[in-house]
Symmetry: C2
Subunit: 740 residues, 2 copies
């Protein structure tokens, strides 16, 4: 176990690296050439236009004003300046609610830390158990933790009382926050402008009809069952193949532009090969080759486009049905149409950007099978992914390395290297594994058949949370190979599990402190530097960009990746809650993480991210639930820990806590959740009435006409989803024509 000195080295290292990141960021962001990387949001709006052209040539790329460098942290106060209401306008409710999670972290863990340091740390410090035991290796952190209180001591009552105080405080903050977020969402929904999804319902599993086409069938059905309010509908085309063609053409166009630019620079016709990756196959003139390939693909695309639009089989059994009023749409989304609940399924339509087109046509039975299979797959993923992690981690301790590579012993034994290995390595090993994971989980969620990107994100977040909980949290506490652990748990009594885990909790405090620094602090610092987008942007800028619009497209502003970020926050919440009563020393590290993240993400939300969709903060019930799961776990583990300290009564005294937590969850769910899943008729009616008064002559049919057309059929529209990357049709034509 690392001692306080090692922790300090590690903390210093991490702080230093974070500081380096920040300095790098401060310098890079001031260069006009990086404007599109660090301020893409403003660029896209045309507010912060590309580099000032007035100055000399150099200043277009490098900032020579030395005074700006002095205030290299002045982005921080700037991040706070925008008030919340303006921020909602600027970045959408999703982003605002998301950064509130970090603020919530401060609100929950902050007072917990203050209380813990005022009450628990003195109680622990004066426990003096560890000093009494001679042979035990302990460090200063342990002296501040619950381990320092002697077995059977009456001091544990302080911990019990404090854990009640902690729980009640957490309830209070969570309740207020849930209430506030729900109110924000309702205000947002009430104030937002007319949007197609307010009038539209996604209808799936339209039953086949021998006499009518899908479109006719839908129209007849709704004319009968919603006679007064049915307006129009938009069928869904199976355009997956077309989307693939479009994407392929886009990639070819990039190559074409690359070679064309090269040609313009060097005035020499570039050569490429026709085989894989341009490295095998026969040599050809690159520009001719790509322009002819693009030509071919354009023709295939046009053919496919024609085919999809004319072939009745290309219409899937789903549609977006629009109504004359929000009230009618709200009614249709919440009621059941047919007595067979597996056909005519209705749900609130996601906003057009949010639709995940590929999953709209899955029959009900397939869905249940897919979900079963994915649940089993998730189980195996979670429990067998542990094997490599545990294996690498077991290598990554000093003794392990010395055993496997005995020749490295002298090097490792030097003090600084030792600290480095102990401080960094276990965290980094985990980190590498975790980078791959979200993509896999997202793929699994897609297989499950959800029909909107936001629900895919939420679903993946749930899986990832489970993974982090079992593999990172539990897996780090109880060492040993993965499946073995599962086996141990199965063969242990249910009351033993919290004991086993709880007992080793205090001993793992230093590991988690390191983890918070490596994964949390450094991760956030890296987030603000945006190294990968920076490099990619400059590469693209160098090779592909011809027009101002190309340059705009070259920049991927990124977005808040809820599926990856939120479960991680939950891990820090969990650590904070678990250690609040056990080793309060860990709390400041968590608080720094939350505070730092809050500033960074507020900055990013203001200046960088472009959200792919807007769900109106509909993920909050998940955040709330997972936070309560964390609280529940912390309570069970505390019970387990205390029951190993020969204070049996304490377990009983703590018993009401988890029950209270579960009840609080049920209560909050009933009280607030519906604001996130349903749209009340009263609100819909209010909005309808208002609109009817202000715009009596609105032509809603024309407004909704093309709202839910598959993006590949759309004219000039920005579609930022990375899932289906369509291009701008007209653009393509211009380029192709130019090249021929």
């Amino acid at each position: 176990m690392a001692n306080l000195g090692e922790i300090s080295v590690s903390a210093a290292l991490n702080l230093l690296s974070a500081f380096a990141f920040l300095v790098a960021f401060a310098i890079l962001r001031l260069q006009p050439i990086n404007d599109r990387v660090y301020f893409p949001k403003w660029n896209r709006r045309g507010i912060r236009n590309s580099p000032r052209r007035s100055g000399v040539c150099v200043t277009r790329f490098v900032n020579l004003d030395w005074r700006t460098y002095i205030k290299f942290l002045n982005w921080m106060p700037a991040a706070f300046r925008m008030p919340e209401l303006e921020l909602i306008d600027h970045a959408g409710l999703d982003s605002v609610v998301y950064i509130r999670i970090y603020l919530l972290g401060l609100k929950v863990i902050g007072p917990l830390a203050v209380l813990a340091f005022l009450v628990l740390v003195p109680v622990n410090w004066t426990g003096e158990t560890l000093e009494g035991v001679k042979n035990l290796a302990y460090n200063d952190i342990d002296k501040l933790s619950i381990s320092n209180v002697p077995d059977g001591s009456k001091r544990f009552w302080v911990h019990i009382v404090m854990s009640y105080v902690f729980a009640l405080w957490t309830f209070y903050v969570l309740y207020v926050e849930y209430k506030e977020v729900a109110a924000m969402r309702l205000r947002y929904l009430a104030s937002e402008n007319r949007r197609p999804d307010q009038f539209t319902v996604l209808v799936r599993n339209v039953p086949p009809d021998p006499d009518e086409t899908v479109s006719e069938h839908i129209e007849h059905f709704f004319r009968v069952n919603h006679p007064d309010s049915y307006l129009t509908h938009q069928v869904v085309y199976n355009a997956n193949k077309l989307a693939k063609l479009v994407q392929k053409k886009k990639s070819l166009q990039n190559w074409y532009t690359y070679y064309f630019n090269k040609y313009e620079r060097t005035s020499k016709r570039p050569i490429t090969r026709t085989g894989f990756g341009g490295v095998v196959g026969t040599k050809v003139d690159a520009i001719d080759y790509y322009s002819s390939e693009i030509q071919k693909l354009s023709e295939a695309e046009a053919l496919e486009r024609e085919k999809v639009l004319s072939d009745p089989k290309a219409i899937v059994r789903a549609a977006f049905v629009s109504f004359k009023s929000r009230w009618a749409a709200a009614v249709c989304a919440q009621t059941q149409l047919s007595h067979n609940p597996t056909i005519w399924l209705t749900e609130w339509a996601p906003e057009p950007r949010d639709v995940y087109w590929r999953n709209l046509a899955i029959p009900y039975f397939d869905l249940t099978i897919r979900r079963l299979l994915m649940a089993i797959a998730l189980f195996f993923l979670i429990f067998f992914f542990m094997i490599p992690i545990a294996f690498v981690q077991s290598l990554a301790n000093i003794e392990g390395i010395e055993k496997v590579f005995p020749f490295l012993t002298p090097l490792i034994e030097t003090k600084s290297v030792r600290s480095f290995i102990q401080g960094f390595l276990p965290g980094i090993v985990l980190k590498i594994f975790l980078i791959l994971l979200p993509t896999i989980l997202m793929m699994m969620s897609k297989v499950e058949g959800f029909s909107s990107c936001s629900s895919l994100d939420r679903r993946s977040a749930g899986k990832y949370h489970l993974f982090l909980l079992i593999n990172v949290f539990l897996g780090s506490i109880i060492t040993g190979t993965a499946f073995q652990q599962l086996k141990t748990f199965l063969h242990q009594p249910p009351t033993e599990i919290p004991k086993t885990v709880g007992e080793s909790i205090p001993m793992k405090a230093t590991f988690f402190i390191t983890y918070i620094m490596v994964d949390g602090w450094a991760g956030i610092a890296a987030e603000i530097l945006r190294l990968v987008p920076l490099v990619i942007f400059h590469l693209k800028n160098m090779f592909l960009v011809k027009t101002e619009q190309d340059r705009e497209e070259a920049m991927d502003p990124g977005c808040l990746n809820f599926a990856t970020y939120e479960p991680k926050i939950q891990l820090y919440f969990l650590l904070g809650l678990v250690y609040s009563a056990v080793t309060p020393v860990l709390l400041p590290f968590v608080i720094i993480f939350f505070a730092f993240s809050y500033v960074v993400f507020r900055h990013q939300v203001i200046n960088v991210y472009a959200q792919r969709y807007e769900s109106g903060g509909s993920f909050w019930p998940d955040v709330h639930r997972r936070l309560l799961i964390g609280l529940l776990i912390s309570q069970l583990l505390l019970m387990g820990l205390l029951s190993t300290k020969s204070v049996e009564k304490s377990t009983i005294a703590l018993l009401p806590l988890p029950i209270l937590t579960i009840w609080f969850h049920v209560y909050c769910k009933g009280r607030f959740q519906s604001a996130f899943v349903r749209f009340s008729l009263q609100d819909a009616m209010t909005k309808d009435t208002l609109e009817r008064a202000t715009e009596p002559n609105l032509n809603l049919r024309a407004y909704l006409k093309d709202a839910y057309v598959h993006p590949v059929f759309k004219g000039r529209i920005h579609f930022e989803s990375p899932l289906l990357v369509p291009d701008e049709e007209n653009n393509t034509l211009v380029l192709t024509r130019r090249s021929s």
Copy 2:
């Protein structure tokens, strides 16, 4: 443990007692004087009118036709004669679906028994383990059970394969049955006549408004949010006190009638005392006393009635809101009105008879607290109720009795007494405890705040099922005091529990066979005899009945008590499923129970019961779910049992079974459940359209006017709920006037 001989004695005893019940029933039912006890349903319809008046006086009371006695079982074929559709008309869908549960029992367990006897019994019989072990006490039943197969034998694969076959067969039957019941319900809803609840929604938690009365507030709110379809509403009065007065008056009237009849017979003014129960206090003339008491109460009642109707505070924050069409009511019941989900709660209105008036006014927060408290109370009830049961059971074995009452030893040791004690006593001890229980559970459900009698019944059934599962099933398998068991389970690994329970399953076969006979067979036989209603009817008939209408009221036809009966059926299902692969000898006993019950309940439904409400079979999802819980338990226990037989691979081979069961549950829930909780817009629209075509001039407002008036305010209406027993107002007046 009882051996085969003892079982035979017990079976003979039970068969004999069942036979005696049947003979008694056959004789009693033929007496015209008992007509109202055994055929109340026909009486109430006026089809089978009171005793034939044409014959001599004696034949009005006793049947002297000897020929009818010969065919004393001829009610059995008669019970089958009515086709199902007619039965639905005659007795309602609830009853028909309920008796289908017994039929389902035959469909599930019957083929299981055939397969088990063809395949498993030979495999077990030739296992010959028990004969090899010298010192083990075993009996013939054990030789047919899985205990007879040697440890580690390959024969267990037969059991594994068969348990798959059993599970698949059960899935198939359950799926078909769920589908059929859902279709029956939909057909029933589609075909039934106009009923007030089709147009009505129960609105609860109406928020307070400073400027308007509750009634105005409701009207305004619905005129705004359902402008086209709102028709009318009926506020709910807090008439609990009034209902109590009415009930008290009813009891006084019974006493009055009793004394008046006595006076008429004896021509002597009867005397009573004013104190408790008429045994203490000063002597008074009974007729004068009761008539004056009734007078007083009538005045108080009139005053209270006036007060309730005029006092705005007597109106609770709930109402029955009616719409112009079924479509609009279906919309309102399924959608959320306010964005605050704790106010303006809407749900499908129960039919007027089904409303549980007292619970309509509970605020949302109170409800969550009440449910939390009741959940805790249920936990304690289930786990501490075991102490007395286990205590009495431990007394009720031979050795226990001999220890406590040594002087009884010679008596007990006689063979027949021994068989009697072992066969009867443990079952009866349980039985007495269980009789008290449903009332307690129903009270708990009422505290939980459900607003319809049908949901109260369903809810109580759920509690009772849990109780039977833990206390009767598990409690009988693992002996030892109650809380001790809970403790053992908490301190055992989760994989050990199925092992512990599974291991002792085969040994308990004989106990459960006895239980099935005592509780099942005899219980059903007693059900058809209706001894308690018979006695009460004749007592009332003797002392209270003056007019033909009084006589009609004197008869309580009873009803299918879902909350008590259904969980018991589930226990027999569970026994059948658990023992199907372990001790198939038990199955015929279960089958006899199901077959016998089916006949008896079909007879009772046709001739006796008057249902208190009609919910359209809405309890089926519960039945289905609990059956699958039983199947799941049987699979887990088989896994536990096999893993103690040194065949580890078997546990893994059985692992997919519970997963499949859970998936099947999820699938069926999604596929069918909504038919039981929601009413599809398509069906509502169809019915509306049809009605509009056939009755264009229907005055719906007049039709709905008094539908949802609290029963104490109603004119002449039969209200059979035992919860609030109001009287017929006019009647009362007649009586009172007559007495004065």
